[in-house]
């Protein structure tokens, strides 16, 4: 069996909205369907049967078990297009891209859409464990007396709902608190974080201004740009914000300004074989080269070396090794800005000889990257971070950057809850 490289044809996303903002009443299905329809409109895919659509959401209602398939049925795509859901925390969007690209590479399908969507505004709220147990017992009871007896066990406290939280089940710490430990251990300065955050806003604003986003994004529900974007953001202004994470640590540095806000949004990427793209008169922006996932033992591991969001360091090391590449072989680096300090700690780890030796098994560090190649059109700090939608945003944007440049390689690195990392290489 011959293996071919999957092509990235293009992408579409909706502007990302701050939680409980313009998309407060939009469901995951609404957003994913609109995003798919925008993609269909951009590439003239009305009624087209694609190989598959893979997408997912991190925060998902149980009724949305077939979220992606339902979105396909609501879209202008052919109803004969199969679909499935994927959930790998913030890695979801990139993981779906890997899945679709691999099937294309193996010749199992010729075209497909990868994507992701998330809403924290329309998040599922679970009933308490006590109420759930009582209701299930009542349902199982054979008579009215049994039902009443089961329901009588409900206590007022059981009526409090359990909203979703982004804390790690095994540590009880939120992602921000985990990252605050990593930030402190790697001694990432407040200034460096604020500078990275301000640059993210400025670069994304510039991308909008030069029309870079015109064929990457379709407006949705009154929003035409990412709501979180502040074009006039400066490191000086960000320096005035109070820390919100790690406040019990000696020198907290992580603020709302250098951390991503809770966001609603969706993204999609169209992938295909070169032949399919040519048959449909569609461009090939870049090719999907390879990908790697990794995980770290943040539960039992070292406070510095095994931080929750450091798994991409492992994944990138293995990916480069397998492809016989170094950082010098890349023209763009897209490192997801979960927090400014995540990016900075990741860069620091790759430059750290001890870390690279002890954790990555390398005789020499991976080294520094050229910062002018990092997140050149802004990233999650400016755009926002609807968990599962970030991967699709980055893949489409990077593919377009490579296409504009005409040739070259780009590296994507995305950290995810559960101590995971998903990384990939695109090449034009």
């Amino acid at each position: 069996m011959s293996i071919r490289r999957a092509a990235v044809v293009g992408g579409n996303r909706i502007p990302f909205a701050r939680a409980n903002g313009p998309y407060a009443r939009a469901s995951n299905q609404d957003m994913l369907t609109a995003t798919l329809d925008g993609l269909v409109a951009r590439f003239g895919l009305q009624g087209e049967r694609l190989g598959e659509v893979a997408a997912g959401a991190v925060l998902k209602h149980s009724q949305d078990f077939n979220l992606t398939r339902e979105s396909v049925l609501g879209s202008a795509l052919s109803p004969f297009t199969p679909a499935y859901d994927v959930q790998q925390a913030c890695g979801t969007g990139l993981e779906t891209t890997i899945l679709v690209a691999n099937k294309i590479a193996l010749g199992q399908i010729d075209s497909g859409v990868a994507g992701g969507v998330d809403t924290v505004s329309d998040a599922p709220i679970a009933v308490s464990e006590g109420l759930r147990t009582a209701l299930l017992n009542a349902n199982r009871a054979k008579d009215v007396t049994g039902r009443l007896r089961a329901l009588a066990k409900i206590r007022p406290a059981h009526l409090l709902p359990n909203p979703p939280s982004n804390s790690e089940p095994r540590t009880g710490l939120s992602m921000g608190e985990h990252q605050a430990i990593t930030t402190a251990e790697w001694q990432i300065s407040r200034t460096a974080q604020d500078e990275l955050a301000a640059a993210s806003h400025q670069k994304l604003a510039a991308a909008y201004d030069r029309g870079f986003m015109d064929d990457l994004l379709t407006p949705f529900l009154t929003l035409t740009r990412d709501q979180n974007l502040r074009p006039d953001s400066t490191a000086e202004a960000l320096a005035a914000l109070s820390p919100v994470f790690g406040t019990r640590l000696p020198n907290p540095t992580m603020t709302a300004g250098n951390s991503t806000p809770l966001t609603d949004g969706a993204s999609t990427v169209l992938l295909s074989s070169d032949e399919w793209a040519a048959e449909h008169n569609l461009p090939v922006l870049a090719h999907f080269v390879d990908a790697e996932t990794a995980a770290v033992d943040y539960v039992h591991g070292d406070r510095k070396y095994d931080g929750l969001l450091l798994a991409p360091t492992h994944a990138v090391a293995r990916l480069l090794e397998r492809n016989k590449l170094t950082f010098d072989d890349f023209d763009f680096f897209e490192i997801h800005e979960a927090f400014a300090s995540t990016v900075l700690a990741t860069l620091a780890a790759w430059e750290d000889a001890d870390f690279c030796r002890d954790r990555l098994g390398r005789s020499a560090p991976l080294g520094a990257i050229d910062r002018s190649k990092l997140n050149v059109n802004g990233s999650s700090l400016a755009a926002g971070h609807p968990f599962a939608a970030t991967g699709g945003r980055i893949v489409a944007s990077l593919a377009k950057q490579l296409h504009e440049k005409g040739s070259g390689r780009g590296l994507i690195s995305i950290c995810a809850a559960g101590g995971q990392g998903v990384v990939a290489i695109l090449q034009a």
Binding site: D37, V40, A41, R42, G211
Partner: protein, 466 residues
């Protein structure tokens, strides 16, 4: 945007009240639906003298334009014949209502001959069906023979007045042939003017030259089959209607609009099975992006519809630089730049059509719209000026000037103003976006290659700027 008055006045009760009180009674317009015949009933053809345009009866009969053997008549105007109606017995068609009346006045050379026109219409108009069509065909004055030109120009006055007399959604229009234009050049214009596609075109003069190319239309249900069109401002209103009409007629459509209008644009693109191109036509890279999109996705371009436009109304005394500049930039300068780039690109295929949206504001002027009227009058100048260069490349360039069309924009007007404005035309109602779209579609037909450098008004014979 329902016209409640029109609905009411055409109900039995409303008709009674309107007749007694003398209220205006707008008729229900006949609008084209896919598959409709050109005319639903018979057509009557008359002419001045014995020699009309060669092949016209055959055209009207042969292509099913309504002149059907048996229930129609070609009337050779003979002043001595009874009622001036010619030789075919009126008994055969006594109860017949004419869906169309076509009068060939091309042979008229002195004012006295115009009486033949009077005779034809005096007998036939009473039997014109609701939403009937009157088309008079003449020849364009040539500026050499005063008697001839006076006679020819008289048709202009006749048609403009007749259009105002017609009721029940009927229209009257004049086609003026230039130079050596013959019956073949008339097929497109007659198909348009006689059909439901011209519902809101009334009291207009359309100048038609000889066909630039003979490539005909194989299937009149798909007159734009194989054509690739770009429509700017396609996200809503008239632009969305143009995209839909062109797609219905067989064209593949690139729907373009501002990035900020992308949500509505994607819906339009998906409805018409086209592609959405989020593009600010006033941006420096607009032409490049449009050309690249058309080239890579479609391999060429046939129809360019400049519909995108903005209004920033202010009295000239209060007009800001920003309002002035933005309207001129989007409505006029962008078209100049895009057309130049497209004409130079080699992307436009033979038989291409450039159509710009002008406005009756650009013809008659409008208080508070010096900037807008400048842009729209400018478009008219552009179209006329470019017509010979475009023709040399094998295409045509024309403008469509809408009058009062029901859109989101007019819906935002105060109720009373809107109701009055709606009635200020011979059809006593507002047009619909589709009416403008049909006119654009007509100019895009392969059979319309004789129409070049023209401004076609879709205004129901608006009383303003007539």
């Amino acid at each position: 945007m329902s016209d409640r008055y029109l609905t009411l006045i055409n109900s039995p009760f409303g008709r009674t009240v309107a007749t007694r009180v003398g209220l205006p009674r707008p008729g229900v317009l006949r609008r084209y639906q896919l598959g409709d015949p050109v005319l639903e009933g018979p057509l009557r053809l008359g002419r001045v003298g014995a020699d009309g345009i060669k092949g016209l009866p055959e055209l009207l009969t042969g292509v099913g334009l309504g002149l059907v053997e048996g229930d129609s008549e070609v009337v050779s105007q003979d002043r001595d014949a009874s009622c001036g109606v010619g030789s075919v017995s009126t008994r055969e068609t006594g109860r017949q209502r004419w869906s169309g009346l076509v009068f060939d006045a091309s042979a008229a050379s002195r004012p006295g001959e115009l009486a033949e026109l009077r005779d034809f219409f005096a007998g036939a108009l009473r039997r014109l069906a609701p939403a009937g069509r009157v088309v008079v065909i003449g020849r364009q004055p040539q500026g050499q023979d005063p008697v001839l030109d006076a006679t020819r120009n008289a048709l202009d006055g006749i048609i403009r007045s007749l259009a105002k007399e017609l009721r029940a959604g009927a229209t009257a229009n004049l086609v003026l042939l230039t130079g050596d234009a013959d019956a073949a050049a008339l097929e497109g214009p007659l198909r348009f003017l006689l059909s439901g596609r011209s519902a809101y075109v009334d009291g207009q003069v359309l100048v038609v030259g000889a066909l630039a190319d003979e490539s005909g239309v194989a299937d009149w249900n798909q007159p734009l089959a194989g054509r690739v069109a770009v429509v700017t401002g396609a996200a809503r209103g008239i632009g969305a209607a143009i995209a839909a009409a062109l797609a219905r007629d067989g064209a593949r459509v690139i729907a373009a609009d501002l990035p900020a209008a992308g949500e509505a644009l994607s819906k339009v693109a998906n409805q018409v099975g086209g592609t959405a191109l989020q593009l600010d036509i006033a941006a420096p890279q607009a032409a490049g992006r449009l050309i690249q999109h058309a080239e890579t996705r479609y391999g060429g371009l046939d129809l360019v519809i400049h519909n995108a436009g903005i209004t920033r109304d202010k009295l000239l005394a209060n007009m800001s630089v920003k309002h002035w500049d933005s309207v001129l930039a989007v409505n006029l300068e962008a078209q100049l730049l895009l057309n130049r780039a497209l004409l130079d690109s080699g992307l436009l295929r033979a038989g291409h059509r450039l159509v710009s949206l002008a406005s009756t504001s650009g013809i008659a002027g409008n208080r508070g719209q010096t900037n807008y009227a400048a842009s729209k009058a400018g478009v008219i100048g552009m179209v006329r000026s470019w017509s010979s260069e475009v023709a040399a490349q094998g295409g045509t360039i024309n403008a469509v000037a809408p009058g009062f069309i029901d859109t989101d924009m007019t819906h935002a007007m105060p109720f009373a103003t809107r109701e009055v404005a709606r009635r200020l035309n011979s059809l006593q109602q507002a047009g619909l976006p589709v009416d403008v779209a049909e006119a654009v579609g007509f100019l895009c037909w392969p059979a319309s290659s004789g129409v070049n450098g023209q401004v076609l008004r879709v205004c129901g014979q608006n009383l303003v700027g007539a």
